[in-house]
Amino acid sequence: MAEGIKWAPYTEKLQEQLNQLALREIHQDLTAGKTLKAYAADKIAKIVLGDCTIGTAKHIGMCTIVPLENYWLPLFFSYWEEQEKEISFLVDIMPTVDSLIDEPYRIKYLDSIQPIWEKFASLPGITPFEDDAVRAVCSIVYTAAVVPIEKEGMRLAALASHTEYLKSYIEFVKDAPPADGEAKVKEIKRKIEAIKTALRSYMQKAYAGAFHGDMLKVFF
């Protein structure tokens, strides 16, 4: 932590939400400068939550929840890059089907997030996520911002978007139905892989050499 900066409690706040699920720990690494925890849960292939610092000036957090491909359930993604004067972030519930065509999916998962999406539209620094390939896998209700930290309360205000999206996602997990038929499972599998590829590629590009190398392998 840079002198005088108190990083936002990213992993703590997200872990509080995750604890509503029956988590089965599959990996944990709490070596100096990082936190990395991976879990399995019903209907979920993998949940990963972690953070680390790069030098003393950056605090990076990430949370991915990848559903099992035989469930009709989106993918949760939260990315957090915190510095002394600004926080860049992206939080989304990414569709694992073509949500233009699968309208019931859009209505169930994305339209119900819309009030949260509209609420955080007033957050200072709200902006489309800069990376084109990542924007292409985002849903219509993603929230991204580069929030200027003009007072310390801004850190928690920005973090609230992540906990609210996650809270909704956890409710989705509880009543997610199985995917309807082999074609749907195939579609979901293809899309999950495409999303993971886009996110992994962005993270490798953004943090080449700076990130704890093993962390990305666990996330994606």
């Binding site: 065509i101 309208e103 539209a121 620094g125 902006t127 489309p128 896998v137 219509i140 495409a194």
Partner: protein, 255 residues
Amino acid sequence: MARVDYKDMINFADDLLNKYKIFEGIDFIPLETYEGMDTRPAWDFKTPMATGYYKPYLIKGSTAVEKITIGELHYMRRAKYCALNMTASDDYDLPIYACEFDESAPRLGITVDFMPVVDIAVHPEYREKYLDQLADLWRQYRTLPGFTKEGRCLVQRRYAPWPWARESLSPYSLDGRVEEPEDRYKVMDAVAAYARVWLELLKKAEPVKDPQYKQEMLARKKVLQKLYRERDPGGEVIKKIFGEDKHHLFVSLIF
């Protein structure tokens, strides 16, 4: 906030054709029949509420175009509802160029985009081939006042009440509400710049060969067209002006 009189509103179609000359060198042929409908009633209309035209064209010698429609509807000398739509024929996977441009005294509402006809999350090569051509323009124009306000960039939020419409957008849509007269003209630069990119892509377009990909592409294209023709709130205005029987013709030419 400056109000703009009807007489000072932007001449959308005329500016694109004669000021920006986006179709210079292209030989248009009027499209008289579209999806079995006689399009001529839309070429020039005058009703107690509205005047204007929506003219659909093909390009001479090209099989790659389904329609290029340009038009304006002037509503009671109070507002203009303008559109430019460029849709490739079913053998081609070019995105749909769609521009909706509605001007009234207090503001201009605009959406311009290349709507992908495949799911770009699973076809990143499609995004790279067609949509990424807009990346620099998008970054240039998204900062226009109205698209960005008080440090917040609000593109992709104009269709907030219509999630089905947001689903149709690419990562490069420009949309918003612009108030000041000089900023409204800057929006026209974006409309023309996006159109030029689409027309360049058209020159290089090749028919789709993979039958499975084509099936996937056509399924999405038909859903897009159905959604806009059945649900676009502008369609209700069209219905009110032209009646139920002409409604389908007009919305099918506009999207």
